[in-house]
């Protein structure tokens, strides 16, 4: 709480001295004091948090404040006339798109003003042209746009004057009227009456140059959405994708469940967790880094098909592919193995592509991705051999020999940091994976299932039924990005305990190494391993009660949406991404 208050003080006090008073509000019994912020450019910028705005790139701050003052005056004028600049509701009969659809065949210059052609719409004014006795407004709602044709004679009372005096671009308007297509072919509502439903105080950014400021686009998503209609489309498609995934899972008989975000131990993956503190329990809690362990406990409890769509948190850097919180679906099915999860992955992704695009070829950043089933299925060993030329099947189990072989084959193609990470590998399995990540991953553009990961890097996967040292695990790659991760689940509690203990030992080793390095370096840059990993005893106990043979899969929903909306950055598909604190 202390921190919150500090933040508040920062936000509030610099502004406090800048209030002056405005009197007002006809309909209130007691005259109210309205606080108006009259700030100079310096106060606007001070004490803002990450979600607040930077000065607009198209309108300078002083312009902005001038416009704001003018519009606040209009608010008062409207109130003094007994009009409410913030209306309570509006009864819409149609959306813009519905009208465009219904009157598709209305000819240029034709009007349609029968009794049942009286329509009522509402939305934001995004363009405005006014002449002597005629004004054209463009109104945009959730579905699309339509023109408002405002003729002085047709409007009731003195509404035409009001329109000219008080309506600005950015206002939310409700309008009633009849339908007409102008000579130029623009379908319009011939306005008889209108109401300002919400008076906007700030100017919209210029449609074409306004929101080039990428940072501002993410910080003020609502402005981004008003200025660029395709932004809202991304979120509509996102909703469609999630809903399609749900539909697919439900139709296969999976039950959706919710497992905790706050956990005593963060398991199910290897990642730095967020830590928080619960006051009344008096203990640290971790934000989940995966839903896996709890969902498997459901299988032990007798649910045979479960899934959870939910937020995962990882305390890691931000990038075009990483946001500290992101959304996944994890699903678990009893009595199946990783082969069936491959089919399910294909099913889910193709259904989503069809729902969004209606076809199975999608363009991603200039590359055509073909989602026609079946997708390529190839082992990690073969892919590494195919692309790097190293045959790990022949390298044997001696780590040093394998490292030397790798470095001598690839030496010239390696960057310094890649060499270092190869040197650092703790086992042949890690080495194989490292070579895979450096050389193969970026080349997996078309959908590919990479099969049979080394056991050393797959602590929750079942040993392969035929190949020693490998697990029944696959990852799905599209556009060089990992989209999914699945295994035949490890059900043997003894084996599981051993593997998790191993993982902890490895982690502690790295941690110790890092902390000695840090001591030397002073001022640590790399404290990646400084968090603690603990054993999830509850999960292990559950396994001891017997979990049926099962397979499970996790899919990254943000990345799937990126693919299906042709978005280059994860920030394009998350409405409010985490951003660096603004200066």
């Amino acid at each position: 709480m202390g921190e919150a208050l500090k933040l508040l003080n920062l936000t509030w006090h610099p502004l406090k001295n800048n209030f002056y008073h405005f009197s007002t509000c006809a309909f209130r019994r007691t005259p109210r004091t309205l606080l108006i912020r009259a700030s100079s450019s310096s106060t606007t910028a001070s004490g803002r948090n990450r979600r607040s705005s930077s000065p607009s790139s198209s309108t300078s701050t002083s312009d902005r404040e001038a416009i704001r003052a003018i519009r606040l005056k209009k608010v008062e004028e409207l109130r003094s006339k007994g009009l409410n600049p913030y209306a309570y509701e509006w009864n819409k009969t149609h959306s813009a798109n519905q009208l465009q659809d219904i009157y598709r065949d209305l000819g240029n210059g034709e009007e349609s003003n029968n009794e049942n052609d009286h329509v009522s719409i509402a939305g934001r004014i995004v363009a405005r042209r006014a002449f002597g006795k005629l004004a054209f407004l463009t109104l945009r709602d959730d579905s699309g746009t339509i023109q408002l044709y405002c003729e002085k004679e047709r409007l009731i009372d003195d509404q035409f004057e009001q329109l000219k005096a008080h309506v600005d671009i950015g206002d939310i308007l409700g309008a009633r009227g009849t339908i007409k297509r102008t000579e130029k072919g623009e379908l319009s509502v011939c306005v008889i009456s209108f109401a300002i439903l919400t008076k906007s105080l700030l100017p919209l950014p210029d449609k074409y140059h306004g929101l080039t400021d990428i940072d501002k686009r993410y910080r003020q998503r609502y402005v981004d959405m008003i200025a660029n209609t395709e932004v809202a489309d991304v979120f509509r498609k996102r909703a469609k994708v999630v809903s399609e995934i749900r539909r697919t899972m439900d139709s296969l008989g999976f039950v959706e469940v919710e497992t905790p975000v706050l956990q005593g131990a963060a398991g199910g993956a290897e990642a730095r967790p967020f830590v928080t503190y619960h006051n009344s329990l008096g203990r640290d809690l971790y934000l989940r880094i995966a839903t896996e362990l709890h969902l498997k406990r459901m299988l032990v409890g007798g649910f045979e098909k479960v899934y959870e769509i939910g937020r995962i948190f990882r305390n890691e850097g931000i990038s075009t592919r990483h946001n500290p919180e992101f959304t996944t679906i994890e699903m678990y099915e009893a009595y199946s193995d990783y082969q069936s999860m491959m089919n399910l992955a294909e099913e889910i992704v193709t259904q989503c592509a069809l729902a969004v695009h209606g076809k199975l070829t999608v363009d991603y950043q200039g590359v055509e991705i073909c989602l026609e089933r079946p997708w390529r299925r190839e082992t990690m060993h073969n892919l590494v051999k195919e692309i790097s030329g190293i045959n790990f099947n022949e390298l044997g189990n001696d780590l040093e020999v394998a490292k030397q072989a790798t470095l001598s084959t690839l030496g010239n193609d390696l960057e310094y940091k890649d060499k270092a990470s190869i040197e650092a590998c703790q086992s042949v399995g890690h080495l194989l994976n490292e070579v895979f990540e450096i050389f193969v991953e970026p080349k997996l553009i078309q959908p590919t299932f990479v099969l049979d990961y080394p056991i050393e890097i797959s602590p929750l996967a079942k040993p392969h039924r035929r190949s020693t040292g490998l697990t029944e695990r696959f990852e799905l790659f599209i556009c060089g990005r990992e989209l999914g991760n699945a295994f035949s689940e490890l059900t043997d509690p003894i084996d599981q305990r051993g593997r998790l203990e191993d993982q902890i030992r490895q982690h502690e080793k790295k941690r110790a190494a890092v902390s000695t390095n840090a001591d030397k370096k002073e001022g640590t840059e790399d404290e990646d391993e400084s968090y603690e990993v603990t054993l999830d005893e509850d999960f292990l106990t559950a396994l001891e009660y017997g979990m049926p043979p099962a397979s499970g899969m996790g899919l990254g929903i943000d990345r799937l949406v990126m693919l299906l909306t042709n978005s280059p950055s994860i920030r394009d598909v998350i409405a409010f991404p985490v951003l660096k604190v603004q200066q």
């Binding site: 209130r28 913030y86 906007s200 609502y222 003894i494 106990t541 009660y545």
Partner: protein, 594 residues
């Protein structure tokens, strides 16, 4: 069909075979010795009690749990040593137990279909041996149960193998069975295994069923529980609450009704989703970690992002973000998701809980009230299979349940008028005045209602309303038109100064929904935040913080909007006759174990 119970050994072939051969020989010797011992033991036992337990192993239930676990671990270790995989990778299930029952329940008593082959899998929840050659099991899966009649003469194993194998199948094991359907002479549908594989082992002793359901002739549970009817956890096989919540897998395994609670929860959420999707709402996701915990009044969880070196709060409500999206032009949005409050844990509070919030442009609170009535009554009607009324143990399971009637329309009580009427008060009209504050302090004193400090007007009113009005709200009731001082995000009432266009829905005296015509005047919004700040400075740390981004968003214009929030856990509690929120959370927050 892939069925690798006898997997190829994991290590190099030649070597293992010889090792295994050795082991097998040893094993065989052991076996023979064991047999002899058993024979002797048998004789001894036969002398003592002549009639029963001829070949059955020592009764597992009499062993101490630690020893039981040890025995099981030894058994697994030996299996592995013998090169067997006790955890097969895959068992192809051809029918679920539910499908099996549906398909074969019409068989005649005593009829067998030996030419049919089906594969079922599930958990053994009951086992009884009838001599060496016949073992009965109850196989549970997907909420259904079928009898397994393992008859040595029908099995692929010879008699000795059969008896040895089945002596190692324990209650709680997950098994896969391939066999044929048939009905016993008594008319119980069973499966007669030809092959029988243990797929996963239960290493712990399961709590015992009170009465062995040996005589039960039904395949489905009697009186299947439906949402809206009562439950009696006192009658569960596993009763201890602490164990039930900590070891939910055990709870689900042993208490079949528990599974129905979570299916009901899932159905409630999908009903809401379907309802809103049909109204053209868009489901969205907003951040769970924020720089400011806004949209409600509660203590937030704090955390820290290392690389960005940034303090963050876990969200306490998604409200402000959702309204920003309405500003952005998404006219109808909703989010179903977790909220987090750093507060105590009790019967109705868990640190994380699930809500649905929706925002609907061009609607006001009257419209939203209608939608609420429609949604909730429709949901109850669908889940209860055709009734608006539910049974609920409001006063504990030892008292009679009450009936809660969701028939629309719901009762509406005006908060201030209602309070004045029922408590005989005449509250000063200007609720922001010191006079009103003093009046309410006196009222609380008069009725001996304690309001822990700070005694702000909002808190005093809240206590009085809780005492006088909420207590009367058993059937769904809207308490409407809350004062501005209690509702910093709600729009002022269009005709009644000092009040807002807000409602809260109470069911069984608990708040389930909270909704209002959204405040969209940025100037007034800032002013309300400033008033909250005053309360905060007077010690109410639950007063709301200003969110500048949100206020700026309002300056771009939020259309007239109706907004709504629903507590999904509480609603699920009502529909599943749960008195404790932990009943409806799969993994509720628990105190660390000592």
């Amino acid at each position: 069909m892939e069925q690798p119970p006898s997997d190829p050994p994991a290590t190099g072939a030649g070597e293992t075979i010889s090792k295994n051969a050795l082991k097998r020989e040893l094993k065989n010797k052991q076996r023979e010795e064991e047999k002899k011992k058993k024979e002797e033991a048998k004789k001894a036992a036969a002398l003592e009690k002549a009639k029963e337990n001829k070949s059955a192993p020592p009764n597992d239930e009499d062993i101490d749990p630690t020893q039981y676990l040890k025995n099981r671990l030894n058994y697994l270790e030996n299996e592995k040593k013998e090169g067997k995989n006790p955890y097969p990778h895959k068992f192809l299930v051809t029918l679920s137990i539910q499908e099996y029952i549906k398909k074969y329940e019409s068989l005649k008593d005593g009829q067998h279909q030996e030419d049919v082959s089906v594969s079922l899998a599930g958990r053994i929840m009951h086992k009884r041996a009838s001599g060496v050659k016949l073992v009965f099991y109850d196989l549970h899966g997907g909420g259904f149960k079928v009898q397994v009649m393992a008859d040595a003469s029908k099995s692929d194993l010879d008699e000795a193998e059969f008896s040895k194998f089945h002596s190692n199948v324990k209650r709680g094991d997950i098994v896969g069975i391939t066999g044929f359907p048939g009905k016993s002479k008594k008319g119980e549908l069973s499966i007669f295994p030809k092959t029988f594989v243990v797929l996963s082992h239960c290493l712990h002793m399961l709590p015992r069923q009170i009465s062995a359901p040996a005589a039960e002739n039904t395949n489905v549970k009697k009186d299947a529980w439906v949402p809206g009817s009562t439950r009696n956890p006192e009658a569960y096989i596993l009763k201890d609450q602490e164990t039930r919540y900590r070891l939910r897998h055990l709870d689900l395994m042993l208490n079949p009704e528990v599974r129905e609670i979570f299916k009901t929860r899932s159905r409630i959420i999908s009903y809401i989703r379907k309802f809103l999707d049909n109204l053209d709402f868009l489901e969205v996701e907003t951040p769970m970690m924020n720089m400011i915990a806004g949209g409600a009044t509660a203590k937030p969880f704090t955390t820290h992002h290392n690389e960005l070196n940034m303090g963050l709060f876990m969200r306490i409500a998604p409200e402000l973000y959702l309204k920003e999206l309405v500003v952005g032009g998404l006219d109808r949005v909703y989010e179903i998701g977790k909220q987090f409050r750093n507060e105590g844990i009790d019967l109705t509070h868990n640190p994380e809980f699930t809500t649905c919030e929706f925002y609907m442009a061009y609607m006001d609170y009257n419209d939203v009230m209608e939608i609420t009535e429609k949604m909730l009554s429709g949901m109850v009607h669908e889940l209860t299979k055709g009734s608006y009324k539910i049974q609920y143990h409001a006063d504990g399971t030892d008292k009679d349940p009450i009936e809660i009637d969701f028939t629309p329309p719901f009762r509406r009580i005006d908060m201030i008028e209602g309070l004045e009427e029922i408590a005989g008060l005449n509250i000063p009209k200007d609720l922001a005045s010191d006079e009103a504050n003093q009046y309410l302090r006196d009222a609380c004193k008069k009725y001996e209602i304690t309001c822990p400090p700070p005694e702000t007007t909002a808190r005093l009113l809240d206590k009085l309303v809780g005492h006088f009005l909420e207590e009367t709200c058993v059937n769904p009731t809207f308490i409407i038109n809350q004062p501005e001082i209690m509702s910093p995000l709600a729009k002022w009432h269009r005709s009644r100064p000092g009040l807002t266009e807000r409602f809260e829905l109470f069911v069984n005296k608990h708040e389930v929904c909270n909704a209002y015509t959204e405040l969209n005047d940025p100037v007034v919004q800032r002013q309300r935040f400033a008033e909250q700040l005053k309360d905060r400075q007077s010690g109410d740390d639950e007063a709301m913080l200003i969110d500048e981004t949100f206020c700026t968003a309002l300056e771009y214009g939020l259309p007239p909007t109706g907004g709504w929030g629903l507590g999904i856990d509480r609603l699920t509690m009502l529909l599943t006759d749960s008195q404790n929120i932990k009943e409806v959370l799969l993994f509720p927050a628990m105190k660390p174990q000592a």
